[in-house]
Symmetry: C2
DNA sequence: TAGTGGTCTAGACCACAAA
DNA sequence: TTGTGGTCTAGACCACTAT
């Protein structure tokens, strides 16, 4: 059976299991094979199997019940954006048309306030990128983002029109670590309102995001003002 | 040294390490002891040490960097509520005065719409609880919550004034599994506005929460309308 | 090159769910 | 009672960081 071949790591195994889940292979029972069966099927250790299941569980795709099995969770409804782990809006919506309209792209020097936010020295060089982001031609958010030039030596409008995260990961070789978000209520500026096709002063869910590399250094901060109708979010978490 | 004694599980070890972090023991280096040192200090296996660190990392308290060490993350600022894992607002703010004013507490039968939300049959008994929640005497949210009577056989106003989650966990012996949240923009009803001391029609961050037991069964759903000034949220996530 | 976290194998026992 | 996931020990090697 084809899924027996060539599994070498928990991430690879997680990917294969995700595939089988999405193909509906387990929809009858609603459960994954048992750990012992997966050990047998993929010829890996229990540690590896448990690691793969932990990856899927952290992503909210399955939930293990002791003594009973690993259950596939209900489908997440379609139109929501994940809060928490994200590798960029483009990766979040693989089968949707994601567009970014670059309003501004400039290399600036951090003033006192920005330096504090970026954990850098005053005067350090920072890319400032303002974009309107839309999904399936619906405006989603007005984003103001800053990137430390130390880690992103080059940037242009064409790159900013696409996925900056994919650029940083694939072309610059940066490895992402974790990010902090703060969510609160904000209000649209005139320019944000114009681009989102709303009115100045309209309320917006505002997310401040600080993103760190795997070495713990901040490389990117951003402020997103989300369209109050078009943007919804979901979060799936363990309570244990 | 006192921290060497009596560690039997990753959760226990995580608790002890958290204590040492909060006491500032590692503030000089910003790093935890190495895995090998922790193995030595607590006389446990590497697996156990790694498990404890994973618990802290999942909670956003530390971040491990391969080849370098396990770093303590910056303090989370004070006044924010966690999105993602939560065991109730009371547990989230251990050193604040959390009050709940019960507006309504009734045992009802699920209509078609509620039955769908609660994953139960039409006509099943459900507790409906409406509360104004406040932290340090500031109104935070207007909450409408439903609890399946199947899992919560008894409820009264006194219990609802306190922590329903503590009641369910400690007195009813329920074990929580995971929860799904949907975050979007909402608008205050007249009653919600009155209680939150805002105006009808004011915007509010709205969080719909479905909470499941560790056996995968939904036991509680709720809708929270948050005060747009008093309520802010944070989320810390891994990007790996 | 040495130190440190990441992954993996192999094997054991425990806690909980379901029959 | 049996099956299944949760935790733990012991030991090994790999990948990345820092020097």
């Amino acid at each position: 059976m084809e899924w027996e071949i060539g599994v070498a790591s928990k991430h690879e195994l997680a990917r294969k299991l995700r595939q089988r889940i999405n193909q509906g292979e387990f929809s009858e029972t609603g459960k994954l094979p048992t750990e012992d069966q997966l050990i047998e099927q993929y010829q890996v250790s229990r540690y590896c199997v448990r690691g793969a299941i932990a990856v899927l569980a952290a992503a909210g795709e399955v939930f293990p019940v002791r003594g009973s099995g690993v259950f596939v969770r209900e489908d997440r409804v379609g139109n929501y954006m994940p809060i928490g782990s994200s590798n960029g809006i483009v990766a979040d919506f693989p089968d949707r048309k994601v567009s970014s309209f670059v309003q501004e792209l400039a290399l600036i020097r951090a003033d006192k306030q920005l330096a504090k936010r970026m954990r850098c020295a005053e005067g350090d060089q920072v890319w400032r990128v303002v974009r309107l982001r839309s999904v399936n031609d619906q405006p989603i958010s007005y984003e103001t983002a800053w990137y430390l030039k130390e880690y992103v030596p080059y940037l242009n409008e064409e790159i900013a029109r696409g996925s900056l995260y994919a650029y940083m990961r694939d072309d610059l070789g940066l490895t992402f670590g974790f990010d902090d978000k703060v969510i609160h209520m904000g209000w649209l500026t005139a320019e944000a309102a114009r681009l989102l096709e709303l009115n100045e002063g309209d309320p917006a869910i505002c997310i401040e995001d600080d993103a760190f590399l795997s070495n713990g250094k901040l490389f990117n901060a951003s402020r997103n003002l989300y369209h109050y109708k078009n943007a919804k979010f979901y979060s799936m978490a363990s309570m244990r």
